[in-house]
């Protein structure tokens, strides 16, 4: 079984549970949760996470700022980051990709979409 370490960041606990359950269904059991960028960043810096899944719209530090902080940190610069958000503005999607997002999934999403994007990100990570 795969031992990929996930950090799931969302201010809504319902959404964190949904993502956690889906990841477990996909066979990933090492999942940590955080409710915004401020709590997530120290966890990322301290732990050896393999994938970050983050919402955009959160009080405290929003997901886009977390993404930028991750990319600015030499240790985390290569971490695969999946944005999972209800933000549908083109401009924002472009901003996220330019800031270094590895994938962008729009809410509401399906289990199939999440799996597809994760597989793609993990394959790219393995190839790198």
């Amino acid at each position: 079984m795969s031992t990929v370490k996930f950090l799931v960041v969302d201010d809504f606990s319902t959404m964190r549970r949904i993502v956690k359950n889906l990841l477990q269904e996909l066979g990933y059991n090492d999942i940590t949760e955080a409710d915004d960028g401020n709590t997530a960043l120290p966890l990322l810096q301290a732990g050896s996470f393999d994938v970050l899944i983050t919402d955009w719209n959160m009080p405290g530090m929003p997901g886009i700022d977390l993404l930028k902080a991750v990319r600015a940190d030499a240790k985390l610069a290569k971490l695969p980051v999946l944005m999972l958000t209800a933000e549908a503005k083109r401009e924002q999607i472009v901003e996220a990709v330019q800031a270094g997002a590895s994938g962008y999934v729009i809410k509401p999403f399906t289990a199939v979409t999440l799996k597809e994007k994760l597989d793609k990100m993990l394959a790219a990570r393995a190839a790198a």
Binding site: D10, F12, T14, M15, R17, I18, N21, L22, E25, W56, N57, M58, P59, G60, P62, A86, E87, A88, K89, R90, E91, Q92, I93, V94, V97, G103, Y104, V105, I106, K107, P108, F109, T110, A111, T113
Partner: protein
Amino acid sequence: MSPVPPEPERFRAQVAALQLALDGGDAAAFRHAFDALSEQMDSGLLPELKRLTATAQSALARFSAEARLDSLAGHEVPDARKRLTHVVKLTDEAAHRTMDLVDGCVPLVDEAARGSALLLETWDSYGDRDLAIASLWPERAAMFLERTRSDSEALRANLSELLMAQGYQDITGQIIRSVISLVDELERVLGKLVAIADGHEVTSVVRALPSQQDWQRGLGPQVAGLESADAVAGQDDIDALLSQMAAGK
């Protein structure tokens, strides 16, 4: 002859002292009298200036508050109504989806219970196990297991879907939050207007807040009837945009 207006009359003493010092060539006395005169003038002007400033400030505050109220009443409150209507729709859909999935699970579980009860009953009815094994029982048991296996897969799929259906809470939560911040602002603007109407001094003009807090920046979830022209239609649009960007690199 018309009566001397009281205002110039107030300065008679200072002007006389000034004239006296000027005639006498007394520089110190002149300076003293001059200061006294200018103080006298200021004391009349200052309250007037203050009053004017307060009027202008309160007019500005009222104007700013009224302009904001206009925009709130004209656009944001009707938008909020659409947002809340959308929340009702999403919660309704999620509740029905959940109940449909539960409805879909019930016959599967019923069938498993019925089939296993029947098999057990038949098994128990054979006094001799060899007789049971020689009968049609093993075949029926195999059919039951096969069916239970596929029904369990269907159950598992329904459970996953039940989980996904709860995603409405995140979406509706974000929409409701944006309406709460609108209500907060409405309360502030109305409070300011009431304060102005009551004649309280208003020291600051109403801030023209954006309808969303800074950290939200974006649009939040798309709401039927309020879709932004700059928004993607769905995941396919995003995937297209991403591969377009990747190709452009």
